[in-house]
């Protein structure tokens, strides 16, 4: 049934339909509406005996789910940004223990400076934590990926993170088809754990492993991710058969058949990008888009096949590895090693900076001419950068950068009243 609904509420509705047994909650913008909505559903008794725990930190939120999942309960929470980083230790632990927890990340920047708006720094910082990471382009996909996430997590005994762009998606109202409960029940079987804390069959979970077997245990975690590479496309097929809608998969190609320039990205920026591709194609420019849905596991082979015919590949990413450049771009470059094409890294949309069609078009045209610096920072205010660097050179005790920059920008800004 199509409903005009906020992204967070749509996610909460589908999570509820997946019948989680334990939900933990710690507030952090921009995911808070999800857990608020779930909290009301549990309190109203709509979720039967589901337990909802208001905890004291994100570290506790995930830790509660580690206990719940190990006791055989389908377990869910949502977080973002600093919260995801505060969970870091437990993230590695949950995947190491093979616990199929599902978590929504309302992607948001990481401070300092504190910033509540969208980019992918949070999820990318945790890319090696052993979780499967799926990125949604719009709220329909966010809904669909959650159903697939529970299925995949429990099939593989591996936690799954569903990444949904903060504000851009979590707070956007759009038409979403929310599958009926019966359809979800028919697709998603009850959780059947491979290990469970049960007094009638005691096991020890979380033993210490030394040099004699640690590498083997870690390899098995890698193997699980490789297995996910095979499972994810099949799951998307099964999903399409069941729900009559294409969603998920490892990658989603758009007009790659004849594309000379391929834009690779994750998440909601694809929406803007498709508009730009439409316009540029109308002018005869063969642009294609490639959405990466599964960032972990990284679909290197599928990616290589998908873009093999392109001349230029532009990776647009909402994260920055300080001292290195692109993160997604590094993975893409490894996947495309040896292919005769130009790969361009573009850092865009950090801390919620709007990624506009005009800027994208200008950037693509520069890239096609080979005139783009690398990595390219989209719409970076170089005057601000140079001003602040000059200030730092002049005076050692020049104060906090963020405040100085805001002061300078304030002087130049036109009054809004």
């Amino acid at each position: 049934m199509l409903r005009q609904i906020e992204g967070s509420q749509a996610v909460a509705a589908i999570v509820a339909a997946c019948r989680p047994e334990v939900i933990s909650c710690y507030p952090i913008t921009p995911q808070t509406h999800i857990v608020e909505t779930l909290s009301a559903k549990v309190k109203k008794g709509e979720l039967g005996s589901t337990q909802f725990l208001n905890v004291e930190s994100e570290f506790a939120a995930l830790s509660v789910l580690i206990g719940a999942s190990a006791t055989g309960a389908r377990s869910y929470t949502a977080t973002a940004s600093q919260g995801l980083l505060f969970m870091a230790e437990a993230l590695y632990n949950a995947s190491g223990l093979g616990l199929p927890i599902v978590m929504t990340v309302g992607n948001r920047a990481i401070g300092a400076p504190i910033n509540i708006w969208n980019d992918h720094s949070d999820a990318m910082a945790m890319r090696d934590a052993g979780w499967i990471q799926l990125f949604a382009e719009d709220n329909q996909e966010a809904v669909d990926l959650h159903i697939q996430a529970f299925y995949l997590a429990e099939a593989l005994s591996c936690p799954v993170m569903v990444c949904v762009d903060g504000f851009i998606l979590t707070h956007a109202f759009e038409a979403v088809d929310l599958p009926a409960q019966a359809a979800v029940d028919a697709f998603l079987p009850p959780y059947d754990p491979v290990q469970v804390l049960d007094p009638s069959d005691p096991v020890s979970i979380g033993a210490m492993v030394g040099p004699e077997a640690f590498a083997e245990v870690r390899y098995l975690a890698h193997h699980k991710q490789l297995e996910a590479l095979n499972r994810i496309p099949d799951l998307a097929e099964a999903f399409q058969k069941h729900f009559a809608r294409r969603s998920g998969g490892l990658l989603s190609p758009d007009r790659l058949e004849d594309a000379e320039t391929v834009i690779i990205a994750m998440g909601s920026v694809l929406g803007t990008m498709r508009e730009v591709a439409d316009q540029m194609r109308a002018a005869g420019d063969l642009i294609g888009c490639l959405k990466i849905v599964s960032y972990r596991p990284f679909p290197a082979a599928a990616l290589r096949t998908a873009v093999a015919r392109a001349k230029t590949v532009i990776v647009i990413e909402k994260a920055l590895a300080a001292g290195r450049g692109g993160i997604l771009a590094a993975d893409v470059k490894m996947a495309l090693e040896g292919l005769p094409l130009r790969i361009q890294t573009v850092i865009a949309g950090l801390g919620g900076r709007p990624v506009t069609q005009a800027s994208l078009k200008k950037m693509i045209e520069a890239a096609q001419k080979g005139e783009l610096d690398s990595p390219h920072f989209l719409d970076l205010h170089w005057d601000v950068i140079h001003g602040e660097l000059a200030r730092q050179r002049e005076k050692r005790a020049s104060g906090p950068s963020a405040e100085n920059i805001l002061k300078e920008m304030g002087k130049k800004a036109k009054p809004i009243y």
Binding site: E21, S49, V55, G206
Partner: protein, 335 residues
């Protein structure tokens, strides 16, 4: 020829040898053939380890009280490391270890899952050392308390980070030598600070049950665990467990060290329900704190030369304050 050792058995009032004199229902869990050996033999604790002893009695008592329906959560620490070196496990009950600072939250999750599944006959215990409890796990523990989650948390307090090689924790007493509060300088050992008394902090949450116990009175320890397991909500038991390695005490003196801690007043043994003290174990014969401190290498620097009389007096004051606060010495009959 082996040297002769005089072994004295005497009735201590603590049931250490008097078990067979008791009614069967009052006998220690460990004396029964139905004991579960939940922390089985063969683990790798040091000789004279107070934590291994305390855990063995506590967990078996919990098992008996819950009809063997117990799930245990363990913080990182000695107990975790010595009991589960892969591929061995000393645990004969369902047991999970996640990370250092989250045992109370993991236990909350186990309890929530049991509730969601209607398996409320199973009981959840969480256990950690003093570092995992009063320091790194403190936030999660306080959260578990205030939500009144259905978990019995047991802290095995050996007053420092022993697993990492004896470093100061928030539970390390003043003047104690650890590797990060060494016996050097003008004020050797750990500084005199305000301390972090977790049983009292637990009581401040008004949780249903808080108790302290020691390995010197294992029958009392078992009774408290038994009582706590049968209750619902958040419960906390703080067990004083000497560490021969970290404390520089004779492995044969573990019980003696624990008993002198109690009899000097340095470790008050009591029970509290819903934030109020309901019972204290009186000191039978008050010992000076020196009798406790002298048994341990970590306090050796106090005895000189020169003897640190001021420091010793300050420690004695702590014991005397405990005695006054908890009424550990019964007033003589006024008749």
């Amino acid at each position: 020829m082996m040297s002769k050792q005089v072994v004295k058995f005497y009735q201590t009032g603590t049931f250490t040898v008097g078990n067979r004199l008791l009614d069967e229902t009052l006998r220690t869990v460990q004396s029964g053939i139905a004991r579960t050996n939940s922390l089985n033999s063969g683990h790798r604790a040091c000789q004279g380890c107070g934590e291994a002893l305390g855990a063995r009695y506590a967990v078996d008592a919990a098992m008996r009280a819950a009809n063997n329906q117990v799930i245990a959560v363990n913080a990182t620490g000695c107990l975790e490391v010595f009991s589960t070196p892969y591929p061995e496990s000393a645990w004969q009950l369902p047991w999970i270890h996640s990370v250092f600072g989250n045992a109370p939250a993991v236990a909350s999750g186990v309890a929530a899952a049991l509730k969601a599944k209607g398996k409320t006959q199973s009981k959840v215990i969480a256990q950690g050392g003093d570092g995992g409890t009063v320091d790194i796990g403190f936030g999660c523990l306080s959260g578990m308390f205030e939500r009144n989650d259905d978990v019995l948390y047991i802290c095995y307090d050996n007053e420092a980070y022993m697993n990492t090689g004896v470093q100061r924790s928030g539970a390390t007493p003043p003047a104690a030598r650890t590797m990060t509060t060494q016996a050097v300088g003008d004020a050797p050992g750990s500084r005199f600070e305000t301390g972090k008394n977790l049983p009292r902090i637990a009581m401040a949450h008004d949780i249903p049950y808080v108790a302290t116990a020691t390995v010197a009175d294992l029958h009392d320890l078992e009774a408290k665990v038994t009582k706590a397991v049968k209750m619902r909500g958040a419960r906390y038991i703080h067990i004083f467990v000497p560490c021969p390695l970290g404390w520089g005490s004779d492995p044969a003196h573990t019980i003696r060290v624990a008993r002198t801690a109690v009899e000097s007043g340095l470790f008050p043994v009591f029970e509290a329900e819903s934030g109020k003290v309901t019972d204290v174990t009186p000191i039978r014969k008050k010992m000076p704190v020196e009798d406790y401190l002298r048994l341990q290498g970590r306090f050796k620097h106090l005895f000189g030369p020169p003897k640190k009389t001021e420091t010793l007096a300050a420690i004695q004051q702590i014991a005397d304050d405990n005695i006054a606060r908890y009424g550990l010495i019964e007033a003589p009959d006024s008749e």
